[in-house]
C-alpha cells in the first residue's frame, strides 16, 4: 500500500506540473476567442509547428536553448498573425461555421505541410534533463521547468493585459466590440496584436512541450481535444476558469493514466467533462448571466 501511495502522490504532482502547461495552452486559445470571437481549430497544429521550430533550432542548428525558444515563440507569433490576416480577417463577417471550417482547413494544411517538410518520424530534442528524486518519487526537471515557465508566461500576459494601454484595449474589445470601435480603438490592430499574442503563447507552450514529448506531424491531435475541453469547461473567453479547469483536467489525466493507459486518462477527462456540464453548465467559474 505504501508503494501505491507514493505513485499516487507522484501522479498528483505530475498532474500539477502538466496543469501549468495545459493552462498556458488554453490561455492562448481563450484570448483569441475572447477578443476576436473566433475559435482556432488549428491551434494545436500551431503548437506542433512551434515544436518543430524548437527541434530544428536546438538539435539541428545547435542554437542555444533560450535563443531557440525565443525564435520559436516569435515564429509561431508570426504564424498567428498570418493566420489572422489571411484566413480569419476575410471571414470576420461570415457565419461562425465558416470560420470554424476555415481554421479546420488550416489544420489539414499544417498537418500535411509538416508531413511533407519534416516526414512522419518522431523527433525529440535528445535532451536528457536530470530527474529530481524526492522521497522515493521521480519528478523530472523538464516538467518543473515547463511548469515554472508556464506560470511566468501567464503572469507576463496578465501584466500586459492589466497594466498597458494596449492590454486595456484588448480587454475592452473582449467586452464590447462595437462600442470600442466608436471610442476610437482600431479593432483591426487589436485583433492582429491578439493573434500575435495567441500565437506567441502557442509558441511558448510548444517550447515547453517539446522538452517532454516527441514531435511528429499529428502530435496536435493528442492535446488539441483536451485544450478545447478545458476552454469550454472554463467558459470560453474566461481566463481564470480556463486556468482552474486546466489543473482539474491535468490531475484526471495524470491520475487516470496511472491506472490505465494514457489514452484512458483522456476518456476519463471527457466523462468528467460531461458530468461537470450537469453540475456547472456555465463553466467552472462563470459569472451567471
Amino acid at each position: 500500500m505504501g508503494v501505491f501511495d507514493i505513485y499516487l502522490l507522484e501522479a498528483l504532482i505530475n498532474g500539477v506540473l502538466l496543469g501549468g502547461v495545459l493552462a498556458l495552452l488554453s490561455l492562448g486559445l481563450n484570448l483569441v476567442f475572447g477578443v476576436i470571437d473566433v475559435v482556432w481549430i488549428c491551434y494545436a497544429e500551431l503548437i506542433m509547428l512551434g515544436m518543430y521550430a524548437m527541434y530544428f533550432l536546438a538539435s539541428v542548428y545547435h542554437a542555444p536553448l533560450l535563443l531557440a525558444a525565443a525564435l520559436s515563440i516569435a515564429a509561431v507569433g508570426v504564424l498567428g498573425v498570418l493566420l489572422h490576416v489571411l484566413v480569419i480577417a476575410p471571414l470576420l463577417g461570415a457565419a461562425p461555421i465558416n470560420q470554424l471550417l476555415a481554421t479546420g482547413g488550416v489544420l489539414f494544411f499544417l498537418q500535411s505541410a509538416a508531413t511533407i517538410l519534416f516526414g512522419i518520424e518522431f523527433k525529440n530534442l535528445g535532451l536528457r534533463l536530470p530527474v529530481l528524486k524526492v522521497a522515493g518519487m521521480f519528478i523530472s526537471y523538464s516538467r518543473l521547468l515547463a511548469f515554472a515557465a508556464a506560470l511566468i508566461g501567464m503572469v507576463l500576459v496578465y501584466l500586459f493585459l492589466s497594466r498597458t494601454y494596449t492590454g486595456a484595449a484588448i480587454r475592452a474589445i473582449a467586452q464590447d466590440r462595437q462600442i470600442m470601435t466608436l471610442m476610437g480603438v482600431d479593432s483591426r490592430r487589436i485583433y492582429v496584436i491578439t493573434s500575435a499574442l495567441g500565437g506567441g503563447l502557442a509558441g511558448l507552450a510548444a517550447c515547453l512541450l517539446v522538452l517532454q514529448y516527441d514531435v511528429h506531424p499529428f502530435v496536435g491531435l493528442s492535446f488539441g481535444p483536451i485544450t478545447f475541453l478545458i476552454c469550454v469547461l472554463g467558459g470560453l473567453g474566461n481566463f481564470l476558469g480556463g486556468f482552474v479547469a486546466a489543473f482539474v483536467f491535468a490531475e484526471i489525466i495524470s491520475v487516470g493514466g496511472l491506472y490505465l493507459d494514457l489514452e484512458w486518462g483522456y476518456v476519463f477527462a471527457f466523462a468528467f467533462f460531461i458530468a461537470m456540464m450537469f453540475v456547472r453548465p456555465q463553466g467552472l467559474l462563470a459569472r451567471r448571466s
Binding site: F33, V39, I41, V87, P90, L91, A94, A95, P96, I97, N98, L100, L101, A102, G104, G105, V106, L107, F108, F109, L110, Q111, S112, A113, A114, T115, I116, I120, P217, L221, G224, P225, I226, F228, L229, C231, V232, L236, L260, D261, E263, W264, Y266, V267, F270, F273, I274, M277, F278, P281, Q282
Partner: protein, 320 residues
C-alpha cells in the same frame, strides 16, 4: 422534388451497373454513395446551425461496433448494425443532452463535439487489444465468398445497389424532415432559442431528436463502410479529420439543399482520389495539403456551396 425527373434519375442510377460495370469506377460510385449518405446525415442537423464536429465519432462507433460484434461475438451484421446504431444514438444522447439542456451552443457545441470525435479516436486506439488500434481492423471473411447472413458480397454491383438504396433512404429522410413541424421548430430555435421557447417549442427535445436521428444515420454509414471495405482504421472512419471532411463536403455542395451533400461527395471524393493517385506514395501529405488549401479557398469565396450558389443564381430569392 418533382416526381418525374426523380423517378427517371432513380431508374438510370439503378440501371447503371448493368450497363457499365468496370470495377474501379463502380468502386468510386459506391464510395460516393456511402459518403453521400454520411454527409446527408450530417446536413440533416447541420442545416439548423447545429454544427457538429463529432460525426466522425458516430461513424467510427458504427463501423467498429459492427465489426467487433461480428469478429468477437459472432453476431451477424443484421443484428450488429442495429446494435451499432443504438450505440451511436446513445452516445449522441449522452453528449447532446447536457449540451442542449444547458445551452451549449455555437462555438461551444462545435468544440465539445470536436473533442468527442477526438476522444472516440483515442478510445479506439487505447483498446488496441480488441480493435487493432491505429493499425486498423478487418471483419473476418465468412467462408470465403458472399453471404447474405454475414452481409458480405464480393460483387460490386450488389454493393452499389445496397449503397444506392441506403442513400435514397437518406434523401427521403432529408425530405421528411424538410416537410415536418420539426423543421419549423428547429429553424425557430436556430434564429432565437428564447423566442422559440416562448412560442411553445420544446428546445431541448427538438434538438435532441434531430441530433439522435443524425447520429444514428451516420453510424449506419459507418457500418456500411465497414461491410463494404472490409477494413477500417481509426483514421478513415473516425476522428477530427473525418468530421471536418463531412462538414467540408456539405459546405462545398450546399447545406440547405437536399442534394447538396451528394454534390459535395461527387466533388470531394474523386478529388481526394485524384490527389491520392497523382501524388501517389512518393509524396505523402500533398493530397491533404491541396485539400486543406481548397477548403479554405472555398469557405472564403463560395460560402453557399456549389449547388447552393447555382440554385441561388437560378432563383433571385435566396433560399434558407
Amino acid at each position: 422534388m418533382r416526381r418525374g425527373p426523380a423517378l427517371l434519375g432513380g431508374a438510370a442510377l439503378i440501371a447503371l451497373p448493368f450497363v457499365y460495370a468496370a470495377p474501379y469506377p463502380l468502386h468510386i460510385a459506391v464510395l460516393i454513395l456511402i459518403w453521400s449518405f454520411a454527409y446527408t446525415s450530417w446536413s440533416v442537423m447541420g442545416r439548423f446551425g447545429l454544427t457538429s464536429l463529432g460525426h466522425g465519432g458516430f461513424m467510427g462507433i458504427g463501423a467498429y461496433v459492427t465489426a467487433l460484434a461480428w469478429n468477437r461475438g459472432g453476431v451477424s451484421p443484421w443484428l450488429g448494425i442495429p446494435l451499432a446504431l443504438g450505440a451511436g444514438g446513445l452516445l449522441a444522447l449522452i453528449v447532446a443532452y447536457p449540451c442542449f439542456r444547458f445551452r451549449i451552443t455555437g462555438h461551444y457545441f462545435a468544440l465539445v463535439t470536436l473533442a468527442l470525435s477526438g476522444i472516440v479516436l483515442q478510445v479506439i486506439t487505447a483498446t488496441r487489444d480488441y480493435t487493432g488500434g491505429s493499425l486498423g481492423y478487418t471483419p473476418e471473411r465468412y467462408r470465403g465468398g458472399s453471404s447474405l447472413y454475414a452481409l458480405q458480397f464480393s460483387g460490386k454491383t450488389t454493393w452499389y445497389l445496397i449503397a444506392l438504396g441506403v442513400w435514397a433512404v437518406g434523401i427521403w429522410i432529408w425530405h421528411r424532415v424538410d416537410r415536418s413541424m420539426l423543421r419549423y421548430a428547429l429553424e425557430a430555435i436556430a434564429e432565437d432559442e428564447d423566442a422559440a421557447a416562448a412560442t411553445g417549442v420544446h428546445v431541448t427535445a427538438e434538438k435532441l431528436k434531430i441530433t439522435v436521428l443524425s447520429a444514428v444515420m451516420t453510424a449506419l454509414a459507418g457500418s456500411l463502410y465497414c461491410q463494404y471495405q472490409m477494413f477500417i482504421s481509426p483514421d478513415t472512419v473516425s476522428g477530427i479529420a473525418v468530421s471536418l471532411q463531412m462538414v467540408f463536403a456539405v459546405v462545398v455542395g450546399g447545406i440547405y439543399v437536399a442534394l447538396g451533400p451528394t454534390v459535395g461527395a461527387i466533388i470531394t471524393i474523386p478529388l481526394a482520389e485524384v490527389l491520392r493517385i497523382s501524388f501517389g506514395t512518393r509524396a505523402v501529405g500533398w493530397d491533404n495539403l491541396v485539400y486543406g488549401v481548397l477548403l479554405v479557398l472555398f469557405i472564403v469565396f463560395l460560402p453557399r456551396g456549389i449547388l447552393g450558389s447555382v440554385l441561388a443564381l437560378r432563383r433571385p430569392r435566396p433560399a434558407g
